[in-house]
Symmetry: D2
Subunit: 269 residues, 4 copies
């Protein structure tokens, strides 16, 4: 199976790139199943129901969220109604929606998607992601009832991300990080067959501060004092993520390829 994963869609620039270019990218990469992280698609903070629908309509089979999951309050009800949108497993005990689900591709092959939040360097505390992911992976053994399994690990620290990769190695098709908004160049298939990249990067304008217009974040870094709200940068977005090729029998990866399309970043390998 060929699975395309794209990182955090950032504001209007990111949404436009998804709307205009996702279909073509999927065709070019022959993607069977597509996952898009949407936690910053609405004004850079959270995801509204209409924007979630827009990403699904543009070709995503599944939309994941992150620490900004419910910044837009209508997501609290939307996520409960739209099973294709996942929030992190360990977001909060009473969060609506769910953190994993088994999807099907057009040919009926089953794909487990799971999302979890890291604990290191996050703005607020979350419960242990390792045991949460472990429980889901144990319930869906690779090469069993599901043909592929993808873990979106929404985390800051490279140490915690690499540890999650190794923790899932041999049990998932792909462990890919999100949250830092910068793609990493460490795509590899780990020793026991799980594809891994520390961060997918964002679908946003890379002439920015992690997708935000530079002026206000730089004012805060330079003067220690803010003045305005953050707003997403408006330049052309790079669609950024990975393509994984998996073996349907084992659920493991045979190849991982960085994907970067449009905007300022150099194209993926």
């Amino acid at each position: 199976m060929r699975i395309l994963f794209l990182g955090d869609v950032m504001g209007r620039s990111g949404r436009r790139a998804i709307t205009e270019r996702l279909a073509g990218l999927k065709a070019r990469l022959k993607a069977d199943f597509t996952i898009v992280n949407g936690e910053n698609a609405s004004g850079g903070m959270g995801l509204t129901g209409p924007h979630a629908r827009l990403i699904l309509d543009a070709g995503a089979d599944c939309v994941t969220l992150g620490d900004h999951a419910f910044d837009q309050k209508d997501m609290l009800s939307f996520v409960a109604e739209e099973p294709r949108v996942l929030r992190p497993l360990n977001f909060a005990r009473e969060a609506p929606g769910r953190g994993h689900r088994v999807f099907q591709d057009a040919r009926g092959r089953k794909v487990l998607v799971v999302q979890a939040l890291g604990q290191v360097f996050m703005k607020r505390p979350f419960d242990d992601p390792f045991s949460a992911v472990d429980q889901v992976l144990r319930a869906h053994p690779s090469g069993g009832l599901v043909q592929a399994a993808v873990v979106d690990f929404h985390a800051e620290a490279t140490s915690e991300k690499m540890a999650m990769g190794h923790f899932c190695d041999g049990r998932a098709s792909l462990v890919v990080g999100t949250h830092t908004h910068v793609p990493t160049a460490d795509a590899q298939v780990l020793p026991r067959g799980t594809a891994y990249q520390s961060d997918a990067g964002m679908c946003g304008d890379y002439d920015s501060v992690i997708g935000m217009d530079k002026a206000e974040p730089m004012r805060r870094f330079l003067t220690g004092m803010g003045r305005d709200r953050f707003t997403p940068a408006e330049g052309e977005a790079t669609l950024s993520g990975v393509l994984v090729v998996t073996d349907d029998r084992t659920g493991l990866a045979t190849e991982i390829r960085p994907v970067r399309d449009g905007g300022r970043l150099q194209p993926g390998a």
Copy 2:
């Protein structure tokens, strides 16, 4: 000028790769000047004098450090004697050594190298890096007495790193991050001519947790309790960093190319 920058050398695996392969890499890339971050070369924590000398002898013109600068206590005296080793500008008020220096390449062209520490998500507090770097760049205007200027920004958060890139844009040849031990795939020349990559990555074994043998860090993530010390992973290192091509007249970049050589990572673009 062609400047090669390699990220954090990690333990014996990283040192061996530097010793055995740096000369060849420099030749292949036709590097005029080479900077290597050495903050983890000795047991993964800090840098001893002998290991600093080894990196210099292998072909580095300058060795930078980081938050682990003085984990090896002999560096406290070594850094004061060996001007080719720099510690961060804002490491501590009373730190020995210095945070910037003007070097010369073989043809006599001058290269300013500066290192600063970030403030976000670091284990201990450091003073503002922006004003520290600003002061040094103002004293060494690009296209003036120096032909090139490189800023090693040793920091965790992608937001702070991108902000530093824009802050130096048009004033430095290269702003490159270190510290996360994972290379990023966002190499670009910023609008006013400064080359930028959020992190150079490490020179170490990428089948690891940020260069450390997996067993102990994973035990800590999974059980919440440590048992042993961290030790560097021993597999073949990938040399990871960037090559920047600069214009001697302006001090600005005309090209930036990711460099990845050997080990598990896919070769640089």
Copy 3:
């Protein structure tokens, strides 16, 4: 019932004060049951088995720990054998020992003791303490099979501590903080009958930096660079904590009194 709770015993100075003065303090305060936090009794970092025994022999009915629970490795086996020593409920999934236990005073009255770790401003992440404490309190309703219930909330942030106080209000006899090593002056009985103080303070030398000899911590604050290990300050310790008077029928508090005995601090109210 009259319950005495003393905060973090700090090194030799703290141990000596416990050995020499705890019996007298208990007699003077007519304490029926005594709990002592011992997480720093051994060199300021953790608690050895022999030092735990010393505190128990000096008159503690229960010894609680904290984030330093297993800094001394022999506690990993000792805690499993000595049921009077508790470690935090949410220390780590695989930690030996337990986080709560029902004790008896000399007259057979039952006292539940629970310890949990906070999540805010702690050096490493812990799982949610509120649901952990909730589960224990629900299983031991006040005025039921237990005559009193004490929660030692080992946490840094005053916000999280006050929230825990209110969360347990009407369900516990006492919620008392530990970990900051400084007693707070906010002793009160909360609206529904639970006694509360944000921090018990330490049993240690208050001419120090949180119980440690000043020289090294001040060197680190002032120069940004450490040189030696931390060692506990050796001046006379103040025994610091609270006395709670409870109603055996309801398990709620009728009075809370700060306790400070000896050393530099002004005596408790």
Copy 4:
């Protein structure tokens, strides 16, 4: 000289207590000079010009701020015009206003007031407070041109606060912490004559979460998700702080007494 220092005034409840009871408290304590921390007086976040004036009119000779200094935007201009309001020395390089000033009491005796922010566990990074305070104290030696010197150290960690106390010992009349909103019970005169208390506590309702109405902060701790804004609790405030008695010749302290007046807390010693 008798100096009264009161901690963070919290919302309307705190303002009302200041307006109605500060004059009486000053009379009862025979205070010659009064300092009030006002960083939370306006809706719990920052201080407006009119509320600053209200505190000054109620009898404060000096109002200090904190990390919330400019949450209310009109303070950016007000602080520049009203020299009796101080913001932290190390708030930000480009912050308006100033971080220290020499005041006079009714008898013409000079009192230096300084405020600095801690670096440990704060929401954003600040530059080193030790060197900032050092510079001011060196310029105003005790027993010289000023008769007394007060340092308001707005910080979270007890370790950093105790270190600041010792750092100023023998050079200031009083080092008192603010920011945690809970008074500590460690008032003492340090070995070289500086009075010290880790935190002054707040002037606010102590049936709250650090002065805020319990409902919303508890919802966030318990469910991991917020719903509303924070609003200050409205119950009767305890005025909380310290009284220091100093020797005009040396500028050092002869006595420090905790002050707690009204509301839920037990009265000061």
